[in-house]
């Protein structure tokens, strides 16, 4: 085994198999333990149906030496994903679509005599613009009478955060960052408005569920209780109830921090300045021809679309969940499969999380991108968050190979707004300081002033 061969850190809970990488290729070992279920998935046509419906990641069986031969049944090679994102980086509709995809998979599985044995939001990824199950070993043969073992997980990973986002505050999706196995239901019940107790779905799946968990917390299930059966009809009724409760939740942004940034050509941008900026970004991207682009501070994705339109797989990050929501819904409508909008605060980007900090990767671990767009961003990081320019250059240097960055000088109306209520301690925030800081780590290829604006657009390449 070379140093590049290893089991994947997040893949240890389920004894059915695990992921490993070898020479940069990702494989999944299917263990003997799971053989019967895997064979049913493949022979029952469920696999074919799910792949056809874009609900399960396609794979091929390969004759590669298993990572743990003593346990192995087969080795499969899943279709590679372009980027791994996490539920705490998704907007409301992204998490809801992931939940509904899980329910759609469960429905198809039941038709084939199988069911999902887990309902982790981390098993869903956005692939070609759609939520898709990436864990091929999530299925087991359905035996009538049994409950849904993943019921609690579905409620914690999907229903509770969605209900909190819809009924309390959309920012509560960030609880998923703290609780790796989903939002504890007692916490969700406390944070949800009292009226949700009277809604049939949330009243039972969240509030009553939390009370039942508390009541039976230290009590083992008795023989009589564990012998109780759930008929298939009852099972399907439960799934139907979970699905309709999930579907009924909705969230509409009621005014956003940045949502109207581009509308009506706000005071800091004239129409011609905006058009010129677009033209410059397009020209710079044309020179880079990036395979992947990260738009840092993308708002609703106006510039990300330029990159995606040129065939670059583009991640449109923004701090504002409303902007990300709008961007996602727009992409979904247009069937844009090259863009993934994500919620990200660059003053505190996603950290490494979970067991040994290896289950969920930090943003940095998911870098680098071929190209970074940092448009109208630098003043937010350097002035609102006091990050010195050399540290900013260092961070961008670790995130991507090429950089299209907009210099926003102090005289710009947006910087003046940021300085209006505070003392100007930013003596190093000037164009010479910017060029010195970034020039130390990047080669500056182009530098063009944006028409009718004090801003300057730079094209840089990592040294």
């Amino acid at each position: 085994m070379s140093s590049h061969d290893q089991r994947i850190g997040a893949s240890f809970r389920d004894p059915s198999g695990f992921l490993f990488s070898r020479e940069g290729v990702l494989y999944r070992q299917v263990n003997q333990f799971y053989a019967e279920h895997y064979d049913r998935l493949m022979s029952s046509k469920l696999y074919a149906k799910l792949v056809e419906a874009d609900l399960l990641i396609p794979h091929e069986e390969v004759s590669v030496e298993p990572e743990d031969p003593a346990l192995a049944y087969k080795v499969i090679k899943p279709e590679p994903l372009r980027f791994i994102s996490y539920p705490y980086e998704w907007s409301f509709s992204q998490l809801q679509d992931a939940a509904l995809a899980t329910m759609a998979i469960q429905k198809l599985a039941l038709e084939s005599g199988m069911l999902l044995k887990d309902a982790s939001a981390y098993n869903i990824q956005f692939h070609h613009g759609k939520p898709i199950l990436i864990d091929t070993l999530s299925f087991e043969i359905y035996r009538e009478g049994g409950p849904w073992v993943a019921y609690r997980q579905y409620c914690q990973h999907f229903l509770a955060p969605l209900a909190l986002m819809a009924h309390t505050d959309v920012r509560l999706s960030q609880l998923l960052r703290v609780y790796i196995d989903g939002v504890p239901l007692d916490l969700a019940a406390r944070l949800l408005p009292g009226r949700t107790r009277y809604s049939l779905g949330l009243g039972t799946h969240i509030h009553l569920h939390a009370r039942s968990q508390k009541r039976y917390a230290d009590k083992p299930i008795t023989k009589e209780q564990s012998a109780r059966k759930m008929s298939k009809l009852q099972f399907m009724g439960l799934m139907d109830s979970l699905e309709s409760t999930t579907r009924k939740l909705s969230w509409k942004p009621s005014g956003t921090e940045w949502g109207d940034y581009y509308t009506a050509c706000s005071s800091h941008y004239s129409g011609s300045a905006f058009e010129h900026k677009k033209q410059l970004v397009k020209q710079f991207l044309g020179r880079i021809q990036p395979t992947t682009t990260w738009d840092l501070g993308a708002n609703t994705g106006e510039f990300s679309q330029l990159a995606a339109g040129m065939g670059s797989y583009t991640i449109a990050f923004d701090i504002d969940p409303a902007a990300v929501e709008q961007n996602y819904l727009m992409g979904k409508k247009k069937k844009d499969n090259l863009m993934l909008p994500l919620v990200m605060d660059f003053t505190n980007p996603s950290p490494a999380l979970g067991w040994q900090n290896q289950e969920r990767h930090s943003l940095l671990e998911r870098a680098p991108a071929d190209a970074l767009l940092a448009l109208a961003l630098i003043h937010h990081l350097a002035i609102s968050n006091n990050v010195p320019l050399p540290l900013l250059a260092e961070y961008f240097h670790s995130l991507g190979c090429w950089l299209v960055i907009e210099w926003v000088p102090k005289e710009d109306s947006q910087v003046q707004k940021l300085l209006a209520s505070r003392q100007d301690i930013f003596t190093g925030y000037h164009q010479e300081g910017f060029e010195a800081a970034f020039g130390a780590l990047f080669e500056i290829h182009e530098k063009t002033a944006v028409q009718d604006s004090p801003r300057i657009l730079y094209l840089m390449e990592k040294k």
Partner: protein, 68 residues
Amino acid sequence: MHFQLITLFSPILRPHAYLDPGSGSFLLQLLIAGIVGASFLIKVYWKKIKGLFSRSDSKKEDDNDVQP
């Protein structure tokens, strides 16, 4: 042998269930399922009845529903 019998007959102790369903979650879902099972049946048949009186293209939608 005793353990094998439990795993065979107890719905909660299934050999491939690596998640802990939790006692409270297990009992609650049995309760909810008991209630929603009947209403689900009514919903499925209601859709079928509605399907009889609506346009033929709605048949496809009904066919996609999970059959009890």
